[in-house]
């Protein structure tokens, strides 16, 4: 066991681009859900297997939704419960996602005290017009304010989420947001290109031709801008969408991309235990009810064959710029990509899309923008 993920599915409101499971929540988020999370943690804590030899938690990630809707006391209880009930490695990374206008100094100080040591703030943009278009509940000043509050509360590892390719966004506009973000000097940046997902408000607008997205050329320009500007600022791109200062890569997410094991707590969270994937029930009411009855709130699961798991490790690992470790694949699956994929891989290497780099197999720079094309051949 490496990662522990805790899902908080509440948001003040739904952003227009968001396709994740979340529920609108006015006022304080439900205490019953927090209690259910604590019970769920205790349920798992009773599973001896999870506490066995060598199974220790190396990262905790509280994600959402908007976890920061809970007050400091509640969050501190949650973090403490994790630390008390599982075998946690000393100095483990504990992250939480947050929204700029749901953070307070007091709240963050309590979390910090409980052990939270990495904060991720969903800024998305420093442009007022774009924030409105996206349906974000904060403005530019609140975003900057939130960052300062986090620093004041003592956080030395802060991530900012940003998005580009937004409606009507020009490369210059994106450059301003990037510059402002860099000026705050965070340790980590997650930078996502907007994709209009079905079922979102953006998809609706797009169907009605009321959403003007930048042309492909402009999006590519924005992407190139991102890489060159952040490199100059001392960030290293280590995953398709993630940039970090040295030693500040997100350990929890690295575990995902290396297809490691993790335990999911909360409604709709997913656990992955060496190729066995379990999904929790999605509805919070059902989740609370099941946990109260002492049941593990599982909805469905899938067990991957060794080869399927191997392929998954390859496609996830190739998202990392370093690539996927051949030694690691050999140890886990007793398979070598060259033997397994044969001419398919050979062809990708010949076309300069995949590079073999010592112990690592990775996507070439040219392949990164069209990664899905290559991954679809290896899946």
């Amino acid at each position: 066991m490496n990662g522990l993920y805790i899902h908080i599915p509440f948001c003040r409101r739904k952003c227009r681009y968001c396709s994740f499971v979340s529920q609108p929540c006015i006022g304080p988020p439900p205490a019953a859900y927090l209690e259910a999370l604590l019970s769920h943690i205790r349920l798992y804590a009773r599973v001896d297997w999870l506490k066995g030899e060598g199974r220790e938690i190396t990262s905790i990630f509280i994600g959402g939704g908007t976890p920061s809707l809970y007050d400091g006391k509640s969050l501190a209880r949650l973090i403490s419960a994790c630390r008390d009930n599982f075998n946690c490695r000393p100095g483990l990374e504990i992250s939480m996602e947050s929204d700029p206008n749901s953070l307070s100094l007091d709240q963050l100080a309590r979390c910090r005290e409980a052990g939270l040591n990495r904060l991720s703030i969903g800024i998305q943009s420093f442009n007022e017009r774009l924030l409105k278009i996206m349906g974000r509940s904060h403005n530019r000043d609140q975003a900057r304010q939130a960052f300062c509050v986090a620093r004041t509360a003592g956080f030395e590892n802060i991530n900012l989420d940003l998005m580009y390719g937004l409606p009507g966004q020009s490369p210059d506009n994106w450059r301003q947001t990037l510059n402002e973000a860099a000026a705050l000097a965070p340790e980590h940046l997650s930078i996502y290109e907007l994709s209009v997902e079905p079922g979102t408000r953006f998809a609706e607008l797009s169907d009605r031709r009321q959403l003007t997205l930048p042309a492909e050329e402009e999006v590519i320009e924005q992407e190139n801008l991102t890489c060159s500007l952040l490199e100059r600022e001392g960030f290293e791109r280590y995953e398709i969408s993630n940039f970090a200062r040295p030693e500040r890569q997100c350990r929890h997410n690295l575990n995902y991309w290396r297809n490691g094991s993790y335990l999911g707590i909360g409604a709709a969270a997913v656990s992955c235990l060496s190729g066995l994937r379990l999904r929790n029930v999605e509805k919070t009411e059902t989740y609370i009810k099941m946990v109260r009855q002492g049941l593990l709130p599982l909805a469905d699961g899938e067990a991957l064959s060794k080869e399927a798991s191997f392929r998954e490790s390859v496609i996830m690992g190739l998202r990392l710029l370093q690539g996927v470790s051949l030694t690691d694949l050999r140890l886990r699956y007793v398979l070598h990509p060259r033997d397994y994929y044969g001419p398919v891989l050979h062809n990708l290497i010949k076309r300069g899309l995949i590079a073999m780099d010592g112990d690592y197999m990775r996507l070439s720079a040219a392949a990164l923008p069209v990664a899905n094309q290559i991954l679809a051949e290896l899946v």
Binding site: S195, Y262, A269, R277, E312, M316, R319, V370, A376
Partner: protein, 597 residues
Amino acid sequence: MNNIRNFSIIAHIDHGKSTLADRMIQLCGMVSDREFKNQLLDSMDIERERGITIKSQTICLPYKARDGKQYLLNLVDTPGHVDFSYEVSRALSSCEGALLLVDASQGVEAQTLANLYLAMENDLEIIPVLNKIDLPAADPDTVAFQIEEDLGLDGENIIRCSAKTGEGVDEVLEAIVNHLPPPEGDSKAPLEALIFDASYDAFRGTIISCRIFQGMIKAGDTIIFMSNGASYKVEEVGWFDLKRTPRKSLQAGEIGYIIAGVKTVSDTRPGDTITLKDRPCAAALPGFQEIKQVVFSSLYPISTDEYENLATAIEKLKLNDAALTYQKDSSSALGFGFRCGFLGLLHLEVVQERLEREFDIPLILTVPSVNYHFYLNDDSLLEVDNPAYFPDPTLLKGTEEPFIKASILIPERYMGAVMNLCMERRGENTNYHYPTPGRIEFTCEIPLAEIIYDFYDKLKSITQGYGSFDYELLDYRPSDLVKLDILVNGERVDALAQLVHRSKARERGLHACDKLKEEIPRQMFKIAIQAAIGGNIIARTTISALRKDVTAKCYGGDITRKRKLLEKQKAGKKRMKTVGNVDIPQNAFLAVLKSDQ
């Protein structure tokens, strides 16, 4: 014999032929309401779905008439599409009479006319029947007038009915008894039996549908087919009830089936005459023709390892479809497949659909072609229906292509549009007359190749569905043909080559380039699509390289979803044909065949 009536139903698609047949079957008490399902005679799914009859079926209805006597009514159902008009003519010649079924809300259509003329050529007694009188839009008086005035049929005899509600159907049955003549013939004369259809039964082999004109036939007889002299021993004869019912013999005047150990349907030819070996008749019945395929296309399985399955499937299909011809074909782009000949485009579509549906083999079709004549410098004649065999142009002295006479029936207001369509399609000697006020019958001589290229769909669309169309083959006429090649990234895709008239080459080339650009997904490199005649590029377009295809956010909970999306992407790729290094989807091959609607 006086109690037998042999008849057929002539109708346009959708005018309710199958429904009327269903209702008559029910009225004669042959099927309980529980067993009843619509379109009893249309046994293929495609027939039910499209509301057309592809294979004719025959049924023998026991009917007690109002005069108190028991009659035997043999209904010979006929295919309802222009592709199958020879089969229709053979079925009609087995009958003494026909019901002319006209939709009371639509009036007479081109195909009704064509089949009516066929019936008249066979000296059939005609009973006009107006169907769908229950519809609010029905205008029986006008349509009755139309039938009387234009078709010259006796208005007195017109029967009005609704096959859907059953109203008037008993009158139809009475009219069959009273107005159609009983068959004539001498059971003691030498056997003369007309084959009008054949179907395949996995256990018994070919079931021959036939009409006995003279003499009689029974199990144990040795028969010969007069067209090729093949002889067979009769195993069983009988009538068509809803199932086959064996009889001791079939006598002059009757319609029934013969089972005689004939292996495949292709061994029988509709229109052929059967007689007895030891007592043959003097001459074959008139009207026999070899079936002529007019449209040719190659079928390839999308995945090359399906070739064996395709071979088996075509073989099975052929058992029951004498009109389909096939031979092995190969393409550098598509691998191994079959060159097939069809009666027409509908026949082609039916075969394609049956292969995909009944045998689950996704196919790629090449551009349909007609049979062209090429005269070479040494005065020899080369017949070519496959662009792959287009001769070296320097050896060519002249080319010829088949022409048809198209007959199009339309409301007057579409005259201009239809005339334009025919002119665009190189029509000549156009002519028209008014069968009724407001309606025009438009005739025109047109190259067959222009018809098989989406003509019918186009006609339907410009006439908002009101146009109907029929054709007959005329002759071969001099033409100026070229081979249009399509190149994808410099590589000729033989499956996309087509033979076209020189005046159409550029238009078709541009069309093919545009369609391919729409259908071929962007790939990681630029793709040039060109249309060429010999070494001359006459049209070109470019598909720009794909520059972005990446999932931005991917976290733990997403892995399964992400993997499934990639798997879907991979499966989509598998359904494409790789030509050179370019993946071409199945739809691209189909899109090139279709004009813009």
